[in-house]
Symmetry: D2
Subunit: 334 residues, 4 copies
């Protein structure tokens, strides 16, 4: 970390800062220039809060050299992490996977039918929402624990591992037979939840918040990993911008940037990002072409009729077509 002191900095306050930093076991290398003094901090600066120092009256600026995330950092773990998703399905380091299924679990018949059809179309993991984060308290909140039971039934029938979203740490027990626990965009910085998930030995599917920076996403992964659970899957699902043409703006630059910064697998969710079924195919192709490790795609057996999934869900047939196209791109780039 580099701390740039102001020219006219009060020497007493500078001394207080110096002592405080040294108490944190950080060594200071000074460089005194004509207009500014620069301190290079050497040691474990990941626990030092750059914002706090930057706010001090005597400080002109702070710049991190080493990132504040350690366990998620590729510098310290150069090789791609491979995560076992259950049922011998692996993700990362060239193992590309499709997470497919309906937005919400609606009935036994629905989830089992979709599970079978997405499996046949090439999906490796079944997704389905039981606890649904809805903007309105009056909207359908999901089948909750009953939904999880139906999802587990679909897993038993098809043999596919399942992923479903958790909304509160107090529900963790209900997810015992769920292979992968999803943290939604709105809970990406629900730190108490992240801490509890860090105690599990189960893959966590962590979605980027709507206005979270890439570094903040990595810091949230770090929360889970700091607790001992290293099985974190990162998911780019669109950020909020001024552009109204799609629901959110899919940030595909985040894929190669994340692949540089971290060894964790990166999955892209074009269905939620765009909110428009017609965009799922081109955006899936783009995600695969720029290095994503997988795709999460909403599939419904009857998007026209199902009012709850219509906008962004594909039919199983359409999903099969997307999966084939993605495979062609992956083969071409091998």
């Amino acid at each position: 970390m580099i701390v740039i002191l102001k020219n006219e900095a009060d020497s007493q306050k500078v001394e207080i800062l110096r002592q405080w930093l040294e108490n944190q076991n950080v060594e200071i290398h000074k460089s005194v220039g004509e207009y500014t003094t620069v301190w290079g901090l050497v040691g474990d600066t990941s626990r030092i809060d750059a914002d706090l120092i930057e706010g001090l009256e005597i400080v002109e600026g702070v710049r991190r050299i080493s990132e504040p995330y350690k366990q998620a950092n590729r510098k310290f773990h150069p090789n791609d992490t491979v995560i076992d998703l259950g049922g011998s399905v692996k993700l990362g380091a060239g193992n590309f996977q499709f997470f497919a299924g309906p937005c919400s679990v609606e009935s036994e018949e629905q989830i089992i039918e979709i599970a079978k059809s997405v499996k046949e179309a090439g999906a490796n993991v079944l997704r389905g929402g039981a606890f649904k984060p809805r903007t309105s308290p009056y909207a359908f909140q999901g089948m909750r624990s009953d939904g999880l039971k139906l999802l587990i039934e679909a897993k038993e029938i098809t043999g596919m591992p399942i992923v479903s979203e958790i909304m509160d740490a107090s529900h963790i027990d209900l997810f015992e037979d769920v292979d992968i626990i999803q943290v939604g965009a709105r809970n990406m910085q629900n730190f108490e939840l992240l801490k509890q998930l860090g105690k599990l030995d189960k893959p966590i599917f962590l979605k980027r918040g709507l206005c979270a920076t890439i570094d903040e996403l990595l810091m949230s992964a770090e929360y889970i990993m700091a607790g001992g659970n290293e099985k974190v899957i990162l998911c780019e699902r669109g950020i909020r911008t001024f552009e109204p043409a799609a629901r959110n703006t899919l940030d595909l630059s985040a894929v190669p940037i994340l692949k540089e910064k971290t060894h964790l697998p990166v999955v892209v969710d074009p269905s939620h990002a765009s909110g428009i079924a017609r965009l799922v195919k081109p955006l899936s192709y783009a995600a695969a072409a720029c290095g994503a490790d997988g795709l999460m795609i909403e599939v419904h057996n009857n998007p026209q009729q199902a009012l709850c999934d219509g906008p962004q869900a594909l039919t199983p047939d359409k999903f099969a077509e997307v999966a084939k196209g993605v495979q062609k791109i992956l083969n071409a780039l091998k």
Copy 2:
């Protein structure tokens, strides 16, 4: 709600939509034009999900006429809500209040000294963080339940009501003696937490999320109110934009817009919004001038020394100056 159907809409799918809407107890008024058909939906459309309908292949667009929030809506509650904050301090309808105190509770000495000084300087409510949402798992996470105890002690000594942030529904019991529970920006859409807070009989201080729209803030208030707790205080604390000069961009237009849309009191937090102590005074003046019902301001007894609060905290003296200036503006506009 107005639903605009596409010109070439498949009549069978239109019929399915018609039936589905009528099953929701909504009456449809049709208007057939040359190029489009418009349906006016009459009835309680607050439970109808506009996004879902908008996504249907046969629909050109949807426009809400009535807002999806009912209890927070000024249309149905024209008069300003006045909230009793404890200790006979009232907020709203002309009752302007200062919420002041340190970012974090650090020690008994610190919190009691600050409490006394902000009270003397004109503050009506003491703020202090015990559970701290920090981006990094390695940063100080607050004194947690011990911090709450010290805050309660400061309340007993000074007689000021207190406000502190909650981070997980499982901590609610710890807040029994806390007068006002704060929901931070990162938890604004932690819907499970909001539901639990809706069961309490205690003011909830709800901060706007970093990328939450004004309507989403109102929907989160609606979550609390739908549970029976009508004592919701809304707080504008800056949104995330492209501008790097301050930490966030304080959206003061939100104040008059919220005052039109809702009867709930609106408080502004210039300290967290800007992250820069020097901006707190002008932004406090602006907030008071455009109709805010109160200000939440970070105050520390020794900002220079306290590394944890430096950037955005005022000294008690500086806070007293701000409070006086705000009072002048309020008087001038009476």
Copy 3:
């Protein structure tokens, strides 16, 4: 266009609006509901300003059914436009092209050497900046007309058509021998310039503004086309968001959205969008995979030494590698 009137709208003002609309040769289809009255406007509503009507006190909202752009609209021109770039190079409808070259023309030797090497590596059009829009008045402003002359020389030697940026309408004469005129992101809404370019018979390479919506980009294309010049090439080059990891956020969703809305060709510029040479390859692959008609890529013969182009420029070798990979993806998706 649909105009939704307020429930309590003053009938005299409603009458004024009715007369005004009918004077614009627009027919009104009324639909009176319990809570609102909806007017469907039939006729050429492209000249009606939706914002102005929306702002009237008596209006609840306005929604366009037909887009305000006509000549750029795919509805009225279903087939892809193919643009002749010069030298028998065509763009659009399956004709994919690489626009490559340095950020700035620096010297005769530099531009000719790069021109030869990008041609060999697979580029079809040579790019090179002569007039440079720089944030600082003290930064290098380009070689201006001398730069254009060197670019034209490189065209004569290699036979490649050339593209260069214009910054003011008064410079149009200098571009007589330039095949394609580029309008930079900062001038996307320099309407006087667009009007002048609309009078030419020459392809215009129109870059999306940093905070321009997709519809605004199309309206700027419409400015050029309304003047009679239908040869407009649209370019997505990143938008400004809160994410600091890359210079801008490349909005690849814009590619399939534009391909739906318009018949004009769409090119992606990953070099300027990201500002990072390492991201050019994955983002180029993604752009090709999601349907772009071409790529504009910065190439320099010695990026390490050339201080002016370093960050985002590829070497010719690296560019050749990108061009080959893109070709593989295009072949796989045929």
Copy 4:
């Protein structure tokens, strides 16, 4: 300027950078740490392009200590600039002024009637658009030179100085009798136009671009000042964010931030920022309270009838009310 080199930087490339910097008359102060080497650059670094250096492979990061704007910089001109607007009206350093008038000049009767009524209501400068930047080529483009003539007539009758927007450098001659030339948000980075305006001896009213940072606004001012024209008025008029409730998000933090960074006067335009007449009063009060030097407000004699100005224009009566309220706040804060 501080340049932080990478640990593993190639020594030959470092040497090239060193020589290049020294050729720019910049002295390098080195500080070699365990993990990084830091160079402090001393001299006139305003002409050094930080982005270019930051992009070099061998560089970890760059941080400016001195701002790239000199003439606009308060460090070098500590006292507020006072600008003579014509007719003995002064702006800045405590001279607060109202710029009021219609969005567009529509007719002789209209502009003269409004001019008289805003003068009576307390305005000091008359605004009126003759050249109108419109998103659509089919929308009313203003009365152009005829509009300027009517505006000049209104000036002669009322004695008020006038301000009007320029859209192209070739129109400068038409503005000879216009006291203040406005550069609109869309042309803030039309650098060729700024250069031409820098040659005049006339106040320039420079509006912040929709997605321009505060520093970019100052750099555009610097373009004008570098040409010799120091009479630049900065105008905050809202930035583009994700929030749809108002047209743009008025960034009032920009006012105190600009007042710190520059000696130039800062005016706020709440009419265009919000696009909603009802918000003009509270936002004007807020702007005055946080230190703005003036307000630009749209006033129309018959907002209900005039379809072109309706949404954001006040009646003269309403404007008089706002002007009085603003005066009360200014008096209270004296």
